[in-house]
Every structure is written in C-alpha cells, then in structure tokens.
C-alpha cells in the first residue's frame, strides 16, 4: 500500500502544477490588508491632550513625549503642549497605545511599507505623524471609521 501512495504523491505533486499559485506578486500588486490590521501609526495632533499614557504603556519604549509650540500644533486643550514622537525602529505595532489613548487620537493605518535606508527617517515627530493622519486617514475616512474599537475604555491612573 505504501508504494501506491508514493506514486500517488508524485501524481499529486505534478497535478498541483495546474492550479493557480497561492503567492502574491508583492512589488506589482500590493498585499491585501484587513480592516483591523495594524500598520503605521498616525496622530491627530489637534485633539492630543498630552497625557503621556501612550508613553507609559508602550512595551518597547518606542514613544517619547516631545515639547511642541502651541500655535504651530493648534492644540485644542493640551496643557503641557507635549505630543508623542514614535520611533518606528523600536515600534512593534502591538496596538496598545492606540487602545489606551483616551481621546482616540492615535490610529493604526494600513500602511505597512515604511522601510527607509537610514534610521533617522524612521523617527517620526508629531508633525510628520500628523501628516500621515491627514494623508492616509482623512482621505479614505470610511475605511477607517469602523476603526473605533468597540471596547469602551475604563481608565484608572495610578
């Protein structure tokens, strides 16, 4: 019985040649992303309240709070006029910061190809994050609207 199976395995291998390959041609066609998938982060700068929670919860210390001039950032109510700067070298896209953010300011976009050839480019300061927000989230707003995670937040500071 096993000899028959061995010949059948050759038949299966060869007969698999006729159906379509299962791999994506990445550089030509972009990879399909799902609606929950966590890509690059984006920051809606006006509503940020500078509460430093994302800085505290980040498991890989990728977020630092940076002093930002009030007028340039057009803050609505940011007492300390600080905003998170995310270093995408360290970020592991775990999604904790975007959950814990009380004003739901940090969003995950579906952009995953953010590699550059030097490390400094990956340090995104709040304004570049805001640009990403304007470009990616504002344009296809419907795709991200269902991003509002349905888990309501109960927040206890220590």
């Amino acid at each position: 019985m096993s000899i028959k199976e061995t010949i059948k395995s050759v038949y299966y291998a060869v007969s698999n040649a006729k159906n379509k390959p299962a791999t994506y041609l990445y550089p030509d066609k972009p990879l399909p992303t799902k609606d929950h998938s966590r890509g690059m982060l984006s920051l809606d700068l006006e509503n940020c309240i500078g509460c430093e929670l994302c800085y505290r919860i980040c498991p890989s210390d990728a977020i630092r709070m940076i002093k930002v001039e009030k007028e340039k950032a057009k803050f609505k109510n940011n007492v300390r006029s600080e905003a998170p700067a995310i270093d995408f070298n360290k970020c592991i896209f775990c999604g904790l910061c975007s959950e814990i953010c009380p004003p739901h300011v940090l969003h995950h976009t579906h952009k995953y190809d953010i590699s550059t050839d030097n490390r400094e480019d990956l340090m995104y300061d709040p304004f570049r994050l805001n640009e990403v927000f304007e470009k990616v989230i504002k344009d296809n707003a419907d795709e991200y609207n269902l991003k509002k995670n349905d888990a309501e937040q109960k927040l206890t500071d220590e």
């Binding site: 061995t6 291998a13 060869v14 698999n16 040649a17 006729k18 390959p21 299962a22 041609l25």
Partner: protein
Amino acid sequence: MIFNEIYSMLAYYLPPKANLIASALATFVLILIVLIATPIILGWVDRKFSARIQSRYGPIYVGKFGLLQNFADVIKLMGKNFVTNQYVDRFSYNLIPILSSALSFLLIALLPFGAPSLTFISLPYNLLFIYILLAFSPLLIIIASWGENNKFAVLGGFRSAAQITTYELALIVTFISIGIVNGSYDIINVIGSQSLIWNIIYLPLTAVVFFIGSIAVIERAPFDLPESSQELQAGWRIEYSGLKYGLFMIGDYVKLLAVSILFVSLFLGGWSGAFLPGIIWFWIKTVVALMFLMSLRWSLGRPRIDQLLSIGWKWLLPLSVINLIIVEVMMLI
C-alpha cells in the same frame, strides 16, 4: 560527423592541413554552445516547474517569463570573488572543479543529439566509455572533500563516493545486457537495431534498474544525499564559491541531460518513431524523461545513507544480474 560536412564545404579554400584544426575548433565551439545552453534552459525549466508544483510563481522579473533568470545567475556567479578558506589544500581545491566539469562535458560529446550524424565524437564502443566517465567521478569527489578540510565536506564526500560506487555496479550489468541484446556497444547501432521494437518492451527490468541507478549516479532527486542541504549544508561543495560553484552547477545539469538522453537512446529507441522525423521524436522523448526526472526531485523524500546503500546492494544488483541471465536465455531461444 558534423564537421565532416562543414569541412567538405570549406575544403576548397582551406590549406590541406586545416581539417584537423578546423574539426577541433568546431567541436570546441559547439560543445561550448551546448554547455552554456543546457544549464540555462534546464535550470529555467527546473525552477519554473518546481515553482508551479509548490504553487508559487518562480522567476518572473528577469526577462519575459524569467527566461533570463539563469543567464543572470551565471553572470552573477562569474562576478563573485573566490572566497577560499585558508586551511584549504590549494592544489586539489582548484583542480577538482575544472576536472569534474570537464568530465561531464566529455560525457556530452559522446551522446547522439537526435540524428546519427549529430554526434561530436563517434566511437564504436562509446557506451563503455560513458560508463567509465560516470564511474570516475567519486575519485574526484573524495579528493575535493578531503582537500576542503571541513567536517561536513568529508562526511558528504564519503557518502557520495559510497553511493556512486554501489550504483555503478548495477549500471555496468545493464550496459552488458543491452550490449548482448543489440549486438554492439555503439549507441548509434543500438538505436538502429531498436527501430522495430524498443528495448523497453524487450527488457523492462533493465530499464527500471538503469533509471534508478542513473538517478543515484548523478546524485539527484530522491538520492541527492551527498549535498543534502538539510543535513550537511551542500556536502562536499561547501567551500566553493563564485564560478567554481557555478561549474559544479553546470556539471549537474549537464549530467541530468546526459542521463535522460542515454535513457531515451538505450530504451526508448532514440529517433525511431512513426511519421514525425527522427529528430523531433528524439527531443520529445528526452523532454518527457527530463520532466519526470525533475518531478521526482520535488515530490519524494530522501532515504538515509545506509538504507540507500542497502537498496543498491540488496535490490538493484541482484535484479540486474537476474535480468542478465534472462537476456542470455532469451538470446539462446
């Protein structure tokens, strides 16, 4: 053969002594063309076919359907510098790639390419000469692996030497039985005498034994133990890089082509076929044999070295000897 015709056309202009040089030159150029063409075409077919089996695309970006991919690889291999390990024994390290690839090129020169006239060298006993060329490679491999001064290489080298020597015996017995049936050891006569009944109907057992033996001798498909990448990391080729490694790759594909041509001409009756002209029949059969050989590589696992040798000694050798006896009995009736 070929250059006799070319030479007869040019004979009028050339000085009397020129025919020798011309023939040598022509052989060299033709062999070179075939040797550059085979790895590229075969390499492409192998990669595309294996990609489709594993439901992926295979080379696509270089050239129209990835056709130039192998060409680019060969150029890349040429471009790479030779990283030689300082403990390597210089002489044997540099000698073996040239020798072993020359060996497999010589193999090509003996084989017919579709028509009685289409061979490079015609010898009345070239079957035996082919056998000697195949039997010679384990010696080179041992020298190479010992010269590389690397544990994995030594393991791989001895494995391949053991494997090839066991399967050579089975092959020689099959050659003898073919010689008896067809009365001569020259491939062209063998093909000639098969025009009515192909050998495979005559000697089915020898065909099977020859097929398994030839796979083991060229170290491919399920018996690629010496360079089993999972265990010994490319076995005895571990220290080579750049074009030297490229030479081994070319040698592999050339041997693959040689074995399939041998199988077709010895058992499937070379260029004898119904209405199509001989040469087309020949190449159809070779391509079919090649595809089957390749599909084996991508669908079967790999036996252990001692199991492989036990198959060789306990199964293949007795089978071929029994077959030899049957052939003699048949000849007597």
